[in-house]
């Protein structure tokens, strides 16, 4: 049994955005414009733990993206994944989540003995969180979303705890499964020095559409959503009214009066 972790390159959380001729652009004051999607760090860690603690033969990282996504795959190798594969083809550009799901499902199918696919709960760019379930449907596997703990993996089943709106749900399902993980599940490790050296020497194989037998249903032309209209947020047209008084009690009284007047209490 192998664990596959699907990761994505995203803008960093500190990125500052602007719109240029309808296209989103960003700069990062921290000088690191793209990163491994923060939610995916937990997925990578969990895939490695499946290998360390639950008998997975390997943790394989895959990413659908352009050539630059090899950098994030190297992070996965440095953390402890044994293999990394870049899934890239000009035909994939502009795919919607369903197109992405078709490509990732084909890539997972190509990995021998893959039984558990791990995702972060969403990516911080599109923020849709749709892909894990859609990949599961395309694979015919069971989706287990918002997983906060893997309780047990036997030869044929998995038991997990899910963090849903109603509370903590414990479910058992037969393998194979697609899981999406939330932040509570673990504390991602830092890449080790040896891991970084190994990752830097690694050559990352590239799987293209032809390698995956993906034929249509992907790319911008197949996208069923029109994403062309993107724009900055309206400014919050507020000028802060600072409440000044001699004592905290007086400040509190003035603020409370204002909030009652504004009818927000």
């Amino acid at each position: 049994m192998k664990a596959v972790v699907c990761i994505k390159q995203t803008p960093s959380t500190t990125a500052v955005f602007a719109v240029d001729n309808g296209v989103a652009r960003w700069d990062d004051p921290g000088g690191k414009p793209v990163v491994l999607n923060p939610w995916d760090e937990y997925a990578v860690e969990e895939a490695i733990r499946l290998k360390e603690n639950h008998g997975a033969a390997e943790a394989v990282a895959i990413s659908m993206g352009d050539d630059s996504s090899a950098e994030q795959l190297k992070t996965c190798l440095a953390m402890g994944c044994g293999e990394a594969i870049l899934v890239a083809d000009a035909a994939f550009a502009g795919s919607d989540s369903l197109g992405t799901a078709r490509v990732l499902a084909a890539a997972i199918r190509k990995i021998d003995d893959a039984q558990i696919a791990v995702f972060g709960k969403q990516a911080i760019d599109g923020d849709t969180g749709q892909t894990p379930v859609q990949v599961a449907v395309k694979l015919g596997w069971t989706p287990l979303t918002f997983v906060s703990a893997i309780k047990e993996v036997t030869g044929s089943t998995i038991t997990v705890e899910r963090l849903i709106d109603e509370g903590k749900e414990t479910v058992t399902a037969p393998l194979p499964v697609v899981i999406s993980v939330v932040k509570e599940i673990n504390e991602p490790r830092y890449p080790s020095f040896m891991g970084i050296r190994k990752a830097n020497r690694a050559t990352i194989p590239v799987w293209a559409a032809a390698d995956l037998g993906v034929n249509g249903g992907v790319g911008a032309a197949a996208s069923q959503a029109d994403w062309s209209h993107i724009y900055p947020l309206p400014e919050r047209n507020t000028v802060v009214q600072l409440i000044e008084a001699d004592t905290p009690e007086e400040q509190a009284r003035v603020l409370v009066n204002k909030l009652f007047e504004e009818k927000v209490i």
Partner: protein, 325 residues
């Protein structure tokens, strides 16, 4: 074409708040498209939920009442919904952006090869399309998106739409058989630990949040007290969560929860861009911070520059008196 469908979530026989919002948004879309509004009511012993869906504005109810649906499992509900949609071809399907609603929307879109737009905060009908305004890049930009095919599947963010009010409308639901028998549903629920009492962040009208400025786990005491006095939820910035002062499920921001309360009181929170992404849609923001240059004051309508350990207790006392608590 069979109009606009809305997926109803319920608990203990009552419509969840998000479903009243979806019914309200669905009514407007139905009227815009000139098509009937059908509520989907799936579960066990849900005759009363169906009646409630009519009372909240549905023109029709399509229901399934079966033990296999007693608790939501996407592998039970997904094939049921997808099968119905395949046979009856709705123009649009609206769901709440809850954990269950998101899973079901993704499943249905994948099974039908249909388009899906998630996390809508505003809807407008143009011709036969529903244009959806949604945040992207963690709320740092907005986009207006529509699905080019049918059905147009859309999930809605919690608290972004006014809830449908209950009226006197009644009707007869149509009941259908489940798509899968229990034996064909691979996932088995073996336990549920209900959420601890307290107001959830995404449902809260009022949120009081603490950040690095509270200084430690004990520093959350006055923040928590004010939240309790106001009947609100307790929030936190990532800095406070990462420091281990408060559990992660209180985190507001880009890698936490996105909230839209009527009132957000930020205490000792500088207002980093990642935090803003999670709370800038609050109707009113109040900032309490000792640093007058903190970016949070650029978002706030009201602010107090000062020591939160003096101001928060004074605020709690004042509110307690005004609210008669």
């Amino acid at each position: 074409m069979s109009g606009v469908w809305v997926f109803i979530e319920h608990q203990d026989g009552q419509l969840k708040a998000i479903s009243k919002e979806v019914l309200g948004a669905g009514r407007a879309v139905s009227d815009g498209l000139g098509a009937p509004l059908t509520a989907l009511v799936f579960g066990q012993n849900v005759v009363g939920v169906a009646a409630s869906a009519f009372a909240h504005g549905a023109d029709a109810v399509l229901g399934c009442d079966d033990a296999s649906l007693a608790r939501f499992r996407v592998e039970a509900v997904g094939p049921l919904l997808a099968g119905l949609a395949r046979a009856r071809a709705p123009q649009a399907l609206l769901l709440g952006g809850s954990t269950n609603g998101r899973d079901l929307a993704a499943w249905t879109a994948a099974e039908l090869d249909a388009g899906l737009v998630s996390d809508g905060i505003a809807l407008a009908v143009a011709g036969d399309r529903v244009k959806v305004t949604r945040p992207v890049y963690a709320g740092k930009l907005l986009s207006t998106v529509y699905v080019k095919s049918s059905p147009q599947i859309i999930t809605l963010r919690s608290r972004a739409f006014p809830a449908a009010a209950a009226g006197g409308k009644t009707g007869a639901a149509e009941w259908v058989a489940p798509a899968r028998s229990e034996a064909d549903i691979p996932t088995k629920i073996v336990g549920l630990e209900a959420k601890k009492a307290g107001v959830s962040l995404t449902d809260a009208n009022i949120i009081v949040s603490g950040g690095r400025g509270v200084g430690g786990p004990e520093g959350f005491a006055p923040v928590r007290e004010l939240a309790e006095v106001l009947g609100g939820a307790l929030g936190a910035s990532r800095a406070a969560v990462d420091a281990g002062w408060i559990p992660y499920d209180h985190q507001v921001g880009q890698t936490g929860k996105t909230v839209s309360p009527n009132l957000y009181i930020a205490c000792g929170i500088s207002g980093a861009i990642q935090h803003q992404a999670g709370m800038r849609t609050a109707k009113m923001i109040v900032a309490i911070n000792k640093d007058a240059d903190a970016p949070i004051f650029k978002l706030a309508q009201y602010g107090i520059v000062g020591d939160l350990f003096k101001i928060l207790p004074a605020l709690s006392a004042e509110f307690r008196q005004r609210l008669g608590k």
